[in-house]
């Protein structure tokens, strides 16, 4: 009995920690102009490569230090959260729309439709995504929307697979037959009866896909494709700091930690959601 309740409480504590991290990250992104000590792109060539405040030689003016152009790392981290969260969420949502639609079609119609969609999923999973993303962003050109679309292409397969499996189990339920038995048409059956009863796993996949999109977006910025480098983003900061890793470790370290922490938060939340929403796992 105590084992059960302990697990229950620990599970909740982990979930709440995840939610807290997400809420904090969103708040920072929304209120960035109010929190940031200085504008993110303010260059101060007199204060280049200043170490963080808590390190010898650091200055209280720049808590996390400055980069090679004297820009404040903390300010850039705060503004950089906007890109990471916006891109991550938008990509996960767009991926959810595309993936769910494909999953429903594959699961419901089966046969050739299923074979075709599953083939696309398999091909995409077998293809190194970073390569595909660099190629697509090279041809599409960069920009916020291009990155969101490319990242949605990275995540749709997650949804398609899960939704397809769910639809396969839901479509044989009696209430679907009952709906058809009273003359409900196919589009409405798909939407109100099959899709409506397939949504629980979508929410879980959405959380993991958001984490994946944030990570991939950072990787793309690091590689120098995608978002305009003049906009502060965590991935681009990592890239900037790479050259100075020996001299000024803080430039790359703090954005790296920010990415890790945010992704961790989203994943913890996703784990907790999965346990809550999946009736088969112990509560």
């Amino acid at each position: 009995m105590t084992g059960f309740s302990n697990r229950f409480l620990i599970g909740h504590a982990v979930g709440i920690a995840g939610v807290a991290i997400i809420v904090a990250a969103v708040a920072i992104a929304v209120f960035a102009p109010l929190i940031a000590p200085v504008p993110a792109s303010q260059i101060d060539l007199h204060a280049r490569l200043v170490p963080p405040a808590f390190v010898e030689g650091g200055s209280a003016k720049h808590f996390f230090g400055t980069d090679n152009l004297g820009r404040d790392i903390l300010a850039r981290l705060i503004y950089g959260s906007r890109i990471s969260l916006a891109v991550g969420t938008a990509a996960a949502l767009l991926g959810a729309v595309i993936g769910s639609l494909m999953g429903i079609l594959a699961g419901y119609f089966g046969g050739r439709v299923d074979a075709a969609i599953s083939w696309f999923v398999d091909v995409q999973l077998a293809f190194p995504f970073t390569l595909l993303a660099i190629f697509l962003l090279g041809t599409l050109g960069g920009g916020f929307y291009a990155v969101v679309i490319v990242l949605a292409l990275a995540t749709w397969v997650n949804y398609a697979r899960v939704v397809r499996a769910q639809v396969l189990t839901v479509k044989v339920q009696d209430y679907v037959l009952a709906a058809r038995a009273v003359g409900v048409g196919t589009p409405r059956t798909l939407w109100r009866y099959i899709f409506a009863n397939s949504t629980a796993p979508i929410i879980v996949v959405a959380s993991f896909s958001t984490a994946q999109a944030i990570l991939t977006q950072a990787a793309l910025s690091f590689l120098g494709v995608g978002i305009d480098p003049s906009i502060p983003s965590w991935g681009a900061m990592l890239n900037d700091g790479r050259e100075y890793l020996q001299k000024a470790w803080w430039i790359a370290t703090f954005p790296g930690l920010a990415i890790a922490l945010t992704v961790l938060g989203v994943n913890l939340f996703g784990d907790w959601l999965r346990d809550r929403l999946d009736p088969r796992s112990a509560r």
């Binding site: 037959l177 009952a178 009273v182 003359g183 009863n197």
Partner: protein
Amino acid sequence: MTSPLLEVKDLDVHFGALHAVRAVSFSVAPGETLGVVGESGSGKSTTMLAVLGLHPKRQGTVTASRLEFDGEDLLSKSDRAMRDLRGRRVGLIFQDPLAALNPLMTVGRQIGEVLVRHHGLDKHASRAEAVKLLERTGVPDPLRRAAQFPHQFSGGMRQRVMIAIALAGRPELLIADEPTTALDVTVQAEIVRLIRDIQQASGMGLVWITHDLALMARVADRVMVMYAGAVVEEAPVDRLYATPRHPYTAGLLGSIARLDQPRGVRARAIAGTPPSMDQPIGGCAFAPRCPLRFDKCTVAPPLIPLGDGVRAACWRLSGEQA
């Protein structure tokens, strides 16, 4: 005799190699109750779903020399015309009312679905009508209940909701597929009474599928006994129970456990199991289990008319004896 509401002749259903329904013929007149009995897998439900065109085309092949509802051929109807028919002119009640209700829609909306679809009511009117239907099917406090979800209902109440859905289109034919099997005995009696009352009030035709022979004796006018996907006997209800003609029917009736028999008299089971349906059945399907089989049984017997609306498929009844 009035012209039948539903007339089925030589209906066959195949799922790939599986021959699930074999040359089934029957008819239902307005106001009449046709009982369909048979064990699990004997093709009772499959037959009815085929009549309604509810088998996915890719999986099942349905053929019949005649499949008419109110004089209209159902096999040549388009999908759209069949959707117009289902729920409005023909209602269907399922065995397990929890499984047959969408867990994410309030029962009021699920009843309203039929009204919007078939009677063109708007949301507001369909809601009011759904409440009336719940009241008619004996759901207490229908106004509040209409806004609730299926899991908030007990088994008997859920079946009342299913009946309300089936009645929403004011069907001329109601197909009840084991409507009381999933219910408590006390609730069963109420549901049976409800369906019968509604039938008497509306004069609709009723097809009642069950494997409960005691129940069948109470509800049906005529009974059709199915075995291994085929009809083995069809007779008016009193005739069937008084003088079962087919050995399988006799076996079924003999296998009922009765309280009015002396202690020690046990219900007799029919030895053996039904044949597997994915291979061709040579001869009479029941022959391997039949106590009366003889050499003629290697040929499949036709349904032999025996007068007074009795038909049975057994060579013993054709006057030919071993």
